[in-house]
Amino acid sequence: KRIKTLKTRNLCESAKKGGCGECQTACKTVANQKCEKK
């Protein structure tokens, strides 16, 4: 009742799958990206 957990991608779980490298490489000067596979 005192803690609300937001839905987030579990980074530890994503470590088990390996990265595919397809995600995109605004400001020209990572957290704001989207996963191509999700």
Partner: protein, 456 residues
């Protein structure tokens, strides 16, 4: 590692390694802070009177915290340092994105330009079609199994070599089917040469357009002048509005730069919103510390306050049905990057490179013109392999200064060019940039908390 902070009425707890985010009440906030170094009995004794709660309530709260720890959503161990270098190693010498400098010349003479008015400390030049085609061939040849390839038309001012841009897009499209690749194009422009042909073509072929506007007329025209010394605001704003409207108001960013003249940059963002632009990106100037445009220590405090003000205003505008987007507040908590991308960063110098009009390769657009950072060229590939390895070694775990930073899996080690310009080394740390980055992420997460509350 856990980071706790309070913002806009939310008590936020971020578990850095699992990525879990918890919104908690005052009691849970304090329990979580005490949890690593105190027994449940000590926590109960310390907080019962302060929070005016019963022992049962406290025990229940401690049990909830223990459950989160057990399930790997709080104080989760950092197991990523060992894999930090592996993703880039596995990627081998794959290149998947190029920044094509189609014009090392510009029709504006902006005082703060990191590219020295588009010349990048060298001669004025336009990329030939032949060089551009070879760059695209180089990208396809070195892209391995990657399907998505990205090309940014950049300068200088790319519209000063517009026919070449169009011909290169056509050439890339002609190679997509046989090579099994998909090209995504971006165009970055100051807007001076936008006409109906540019609008039609860009809106058909460019996945994203980045439009340079600094906000209020007096701010924009202070530094973004033509060679006759005249401001550019009145000439470009109507063109940008026409392009964005024809584009359906999507897949673009208004890209502004704020300097010592306007650390109160939200006024400029809101001005752009008043002009009808909703997709906004505003960045601190990158320049030498003694440059008159450079942000001072006092400016940084102002800017941090502005980031909070912006987040609150965005909430208000969303509730009023007139939302705006700020690039750095775009966090997709469920569909964001995996841990490998977060650890390895932007890919400059390895999977992402800049190509000069002469076909030379550099780690990214911000290194062009720095001879020591030339990687090779598009005919012979990367010949300075030691430099490529130096960039390959850059990741979220590469700098000892980042060991205790909760935000490193968001910044991914930060921008190598900013580190170089601030410290003289790509393995250095751009402290002011870190400070602003952490504030932006705190605001972005708060916005996600507010969104979740609205949806509940």
């Amino acid at each position: 590692m856990v980071h706790q902070y309070k913002l806009n009425g939310y008590n936020i707890v971020l578990d850095a390694c699992s990525g879990a985010i918890h919104i908690v009440d005052e009691l849970a906030y304090d329990v979580i802070a005490l949890y690593p170094d105190h027994t449940p009995e000590e926590i109960t004794a310390a907080l019962r009177e302060q929070h005016q709660v019963t022992e049962d309530e406290l025990r229940e709260c401690v049990a909830d915290v223990e459950e989160l720890v057990r399930s790997g959503q709080l104080y989760s161990p950092d197991t990523f340092s060992e894999i930090a270098g592996t993703f880039k190693e596995r990627s081998g010498d794959v290149v998947k994105a190029l920044c094509l400098h189609v014009a090392h010349t510009c029709n504006l003479n902006c005082a703060y330009c990191f590219a020295s008015q588009g010349r990048f400390h060298g001669d004025r030049a336009l990329m030939s079609l032949e060089t551009g085609r070879r760059a695209l061939d180089f990208l396809i040849e070195h892209s391995g199994s990657r399907r998505n390839l990205e090309v940014d038309f950049f300068g200088g001012e790319p519209l000063m070599n517009w026919q070449t841009v169009k011909d290169l897009v056509a050439y890339a499209r002609s190679r997509e089917e046989e090579s099994g690749k998909h090209f995504r194009f971006t165009l970055t422009t100051n807007g001076m040469l936008i006409d109906d042909d540019v609008i039609d073509f860009a809106n058909r072929e460019m996945d994203n357009v980045v439009l340079s506007l600094d906000g209020r007329k007096e701010i924009h025209d202070r530094l973004r002048l033509d060679y006759a010394g005249n401001g550019s605001y009145d000439r470009i704003v109507p063109k940008f509005q026409k392009l964005v409207q024809a584009r359906g108001g999507v897949r673009y960013y208004m890209r502004g730069t704020f300097t010592h003249a306007n650390p109160d940059f939200t006024k400029d963002l809101f001005h752009m919103a008043d002009l009808g632009f909703t997709e906004l990106s505003m960045e601190p100037v990158v320049c030498a510390p003694d440059d008159p445009a450079a942000l001072t220590a006092a400016d940084l405090e102002t800017v941090k306050g502005e980031y909070e003000l912006l987040a609150k205003e965005m909430l208000k505008r969303r509730q009023e049905g007139r939302p705006i987007t700020f690039y750095h507040y775009m966090l997709d908590l469920e569909g964001g990057p995996c841990i490998y991308k977060r650890v390895s960063g932007c890919g400059s110098g390895t999977e992402y490179m800049a190509v000069t009009p002469w076909g030379d390769l550099y780690p990214c657009h911000q290194f062009v013109g720095e001879e020591a950072y030339k990687l090779g060229d598009i005919w012979n590939g990367v010949t300075n392999t030691a430099l490529r390895e130096e960039f390959r070694a850059c990741n979220a775990y590469a700098r000892p200064e980042c060991a205790d930073c909760w935000a490193k899996l968001y910044c991914s080690g930060g921008c190598a060019a900013n580190a170089y310009h601030a410290s003289g080394s790509i393995r250095g740390v751009y402290e002011a940039g870190c400070e602003l980055f952490r504030k932006r992420i705190e605001c972005a997460i708060m916005l996600q908390a507010a969104l979740a509350e609205e949806e509940a």
